[in-house]
Symmetry: C2
Subunit: 355 residues, 2 copies
């Protein structure tokens, strides 16, 4: 076990870590732009860089750093590896926005919309933007692997880290797959929803980054407690995300508040609202989710049903339960106490955030 790292308050730690992560991201993209001569590809790399650098809270790479610091003294090389998760995130979001036809991401145009601008006036401008965004997403995934391969960890550790990254992109891909097949009409049961969140969100947001970090520390011990914290906190993170997706303010969450409903997303809020409300109200929600294009009045009515039926409270209670249980697991990890304190703090932060 590592010595306890110097106590830092969470905000200080986050802002220090973010700074280092952003530096490594910039350096990574500078290397990519420098190694290639073609100007149109330089421009495309720049667009992927802007997309990656501009947004995001950097929670995922910070968790890589935490996973490492649990078991070893802080090491600047970990920041270099941690950006692989941020690049993975770009890859997911770029393709996700094409699939969902979302034109906004983090309050700015999504990448296919940015790329579309170069083709204004052409017959197939939107399609062109989406096509190049498919390639850009593919490149971001390649970059994720490249970021890891460029670090100077020893070969054994690097291979184990590669396996973790493979597991992250695979499981998240499976999550995307069932999500797509679900939006297409299948009615979700609670168990399916939990699995969907574990695969599509918790793996690459919490569990995977922590395990990747632990691997980089050369940690070879039991990982069940880390996984449990990651899964439980990841589930809570997603349930909270669904709440701010419905009740949040557009300027805070950076996307139209109605988009989840318009996409027909079967969140726990919707599922429980349909279960707990009258037949008529339940049918109303089901119809809107199928139809999309929700009006302001209908949207307000849905929010009312979610609150009145007890669905909102159900989600909130479940979030608390998951967070509490996740914290118990953190306490059992035989690792650096300051990092453990940070993870305990982070659980609360993730389910009280407004964006």
């Amino acid at each position: 076990m590592a010595q306890d790292s110097a106590k830092m308050n969470p905000d200080e730690f986050i802002s220090e870590a973010r700074k280092n992560i952003n530096i490594e991201l910039s350096r990574f993209f500078e290397r990519r732009i420098r190694e290639i001569s073609d100007s149109s590809i330089k421009k495309l790399i720049g667009q992927i860089a802007d997309y990656t650098v501009q947004g995001g809270k950097r929670i995922r790479p910070i968790l890589v750093v935490c996973g490492h610091n649990l078991f070893k003294e802080p090491d600047p090389e970990v920041y270099k590896a941690s950006i692989s998760i941020e690049l993975t995130q770009s890859f997911f979001l770029i393709h996700d926005d094409i699939m969902d036809q979302s034109d906004l991401r983090r309050g700015k145009p999504s990448l296919h919309k940015v790329l579309e601008k170069d083709f204004v006036g052409m017959r197939e401008a939107r399609r062109m933007g989406e096509n190049i965004a498919i390639v850009a997403g593919d490149l971001a995934m390649t970059y994720a692997y490249e970021a890891l391969s460029e670090t100077n960890f020893n070969d054994k550790i690097k291979n184990k880290a590669m396996k973790e990254l493979i597991s992250i992109t695979k499981i998240t891909g499976y999550g995307e797959g069932i999500d797509m097949l679900t939006t297409a009409g299948v009615k979700l049961k609670m168990n399916d929803l939990i699995r969907l969140h574990l695969w599509k969100t918790a793996k690459y947001t919490l569990e995977g980054p922590l395990l990747l970090g632990a691997t980089l520390a050369g940690y070879d011990g039991p990982t069940a407690a880390i996984s449990a914290y990651g899964c439980l906190t990841g589930l809570a993170f997603q349930l909270h995300d669904d709440i701010i997706g419905l009740f949040g303010k557009e300027e805070e969450i950076g996307k139209p508040v109605k988009s989840d409903v318009n996409e027909g997303k079967q969140t726990l809020l919707m599922i429980k609202a349909m279960e707990y409300s009258s037949r008529e109200e339940s049918q109303f929600i089901e119809d809107i989710l199928k139809r999309g294009n929700v009006s302001d009045a209908e949207f307000e009515k849905i929010k009312k049903i979610v609150e009145k039926s007890g669905s909102y409270d159900y989600s909130r209670r479940l979030i608390e339960k998951f967070i509490l249980s996740g914290k118990q697991y953190v306490k059992t990890i035989n690792g650096d106490n300051n990092t453990k304190d940070f993870l305990l703090w982070l659980s609360e932060y993730l389910v009280t955030r407004k964006n």
Copy 2:
């Protein structure tokens, strides 16, 4: 240098190698299906498997085996690694068909068309098929890395092989990028076209697989001759591909003969035909490439112009030149003679094939 492997005639070697490659592909997909419980994901994996297993000449994984055998005794583990290139190929083709809106691949429905079938009758069936195919392509790329990570080469070799695979997916991605940006209206010069073919085709078809194989053999010597053979033969391969795309028979090439023209693809045949023919004929070709939807009569006229103008002969001569030059490089490689003989034979095979 390895001992010369037992002399085998090329057809025997290819059919033996194909058998082993197909076995490893099947085993890989069986492992993926076995490790997951969700039935809809099992089905999706099966669809990626069918797509990968059904088609293809397996030239690329065979070249991985050759790259290895140049420098080391044959090793069954190489077959296990070689399928990473076949999975990479699936990834490229799946996304390529979405971007090109091609509904046929190897004479069968492309993957987004296969996936669309589950949504017949739904408003957005085509979009659903494409969305799931985006995810399926992403998974195929992840599988490519996983296939490599599942081999038992030592950590140093495996990391070097990972770097080669990263380079392959990155360069090919750049090739896809400039191809997209080109189809969108920019007029290609000869140099741009050569670079496009080097990046989009030669890297993942010839050069990358050979270098990957050499890496797996633990080869650490000069690679310039291997790269030169790979690049030159890869260019010839693509130029020949363009010829059979225009002059081949639909039942042989497995896609509509007009598709290259309809997609507005600026092949060397088109570029040189425009350069060498009358102003009127040149304008005719340019207009058709911009417009697409070519009629039978127009298509025959284009073929006539390509032949009459000397463009066809120009491509054929360039192919011969590239092949001859590539062969010279093979002769300088300090490696197994039977494998070198096979590579010499393969050059000819690749530019005389009918599909």
